[in-house]
Amino acid sequence: MDAILQIVITGLTLGSMYALGSVGLALTYGTMGMFNMAHGVFMTFGAYASYTAATLWGVPLPFAILLGVMAGGFIGASMHLFIVRFMLHREDFQTTIMVATAGVAILFQDLILKQFGAYPFKQPAQIEGLYRIGNTVVTYQSLAIMATAAVLISAMAWLLTKTRFGLAIRATAMNQDAAKLMGVKTELTYLQVMIIAGTLAAAAGILISSLASLSPAMGTNPLIRAFVICVVAGLGSVTGAGLAAIALGVMEAAIGYYFGVRYGFPVMLGLVILVLIFKPAGLFGKQGVVRA
């Protein structure tokens, strides 16, 4: 019983970080048909930005975290304005944008390596202390991670489903031309989507680095996980990505407990192969059926 509770808590912590890392990726894919290979670097960027602000500039921690998150939004906006915007309406966008964003990812990873070196710094956003339920340990850090992810994801869900702004995003995602005909300024919508995705990625990066540590390559594994999650959920399904992230987080915690941590990631990758064989559109995705 204790073991199960511990697995659930660890799993939910992992899952909420994964969810935060994945929903932005799902949103960009769903809206623009763009698989953003630089999404992992957005996480790294956010984590280093808040580290720099807190540790090197001495900014109070809450503001440093806020700065880190905003840095993510900024880099998302920049990538859209300087790169994506010019490629968006070209042929083969889905393929070329993967190459372009992969290039951006490599560039930024190396710039961070040059500026900070490979030393694994400690993310200052730490909350000490823990809470016991029987024999089960819940660190305040885990609680903070879960709460942060829940707040940010709920905020995004509210934005997407309840506001006019979200209506424009959903309409653009479903049918770009029709959205334009309704007066939706789709170019602006794309920019906003990139800002949201960058912001969420940076927040995920800060949370991930608070458990592990900062390193220039820290975004790589979360990106692959986010990709797996999006594929399992069905590329472009934002709600699906959130649910799949939680499920995979709990699964990874269970595998880690019963078989060893090193099996968690390979099993996840095996799962994506199975899903692609038996349910190619993903668990929440729809097969593209076109009716005239």
Partner: protein, 236 residues
């Protein structure tokens, strides 16, 4: 009377392929014009170019006394409404959400409600289906949503691209009954249709398009007396 829409020397096309060759067109206020002609000769391309979905290569589009900027969203916000071919609905949204998207650029919430009532009066079927997702609708119902969504914009000119495309004869009749109702109001409408007999009773001005140019224009009487021309182009 000044024209509501006035197009001069408009050329456009896809990539390197020019489809429209210096089109001139005037649409008067409060009338129904029809663009007829065989498939693949630029009728839909013309509507796309006027709506701003396709960039104009040359020429000018003046609408309601104002030169139109590039880009579909800007033109739509100025009241130039296109009901596109194949409906282009928001498949994951409900019927009512689709209709409300038509009013996206409007701020007058009271009048939007009135427009919605108007759509439901014209298409009672949509009221029954209002909470259903667009993807679950039949072809005829989708067309109704497409036209209703165009009505919701409350624009100054409504361009409708092939309202009969891909529908069963009985449904086509229903759709044209609805268009007749719309046409009797003070609305300005431009409709594209391959088969002139369908629009003969609805429209007052006709333009025959062939090879990206207008080869004939005239009113309803001229259309009735132009059997030879129509036969040549449409194989009547």
């Amino acid at each position: 009377m000044t024209a509501l829409l006035s197009v001069t020397g408009l050329s456009s096309g896809y990539r390197q392929q020019r489809v429209l060759h210096e089109i001139d067109l005037e649409v008067p206020q409060g009338s129904v014009s029809a663009i007829i002609g065989p498939n693949g000769h630029g009728k839909s391309t013309l509507l796309k170019a006027i709506s701003g979905l396709l960039p104009s290569w040359s020429g000018e589009t003046v609408f309601d006394g104002e030169a139109m900027p590039n880009g579909a969203p800007e033109r739509a916000r100025r009241g130039l409404v296109l009901v596109p071919q194949g409906d282009q609905l928001f498949m994951g949204m409900t019927v009512e959400e689709n209709l409300m998207m038509g009013a996206f650029a409007r701020k007058d919430s009271g009048a939007i409600k009135a427009s919605l009532e108007e759509v439901y009066t014209l298409f009672p079927r949509l009221l029954e289906r209002r909470t259903q997702r667009a993807e679950s609708l039949s072809g005829g119902e989708r067309r109704m949503v497409g036209i209703g969504r165009g009505m919701m914009a409350n624009g100054k000119l409504m361009m409708i691209d092939e309202p009969s495309l891909g529908l069963a004869p009985l449904i086509i009749e229903q759709i044209y009954e609805a268009l007749n109702v719309l046409a009797t109001g003070s609305r300005s409408i431009m409709v594209v249709e391959e088969n002139p007999s369908r629009v003969a009773n609805v429209a007052s001005t006709f333009h025959l398009m062939d090879g990206g140019r207008f080869t004939w224009s005239g009113d309803a009487d001229a259309l009735a007396g132009s059997g030879d021309i129509l036969k040549t182009y449409l194989g009547g």
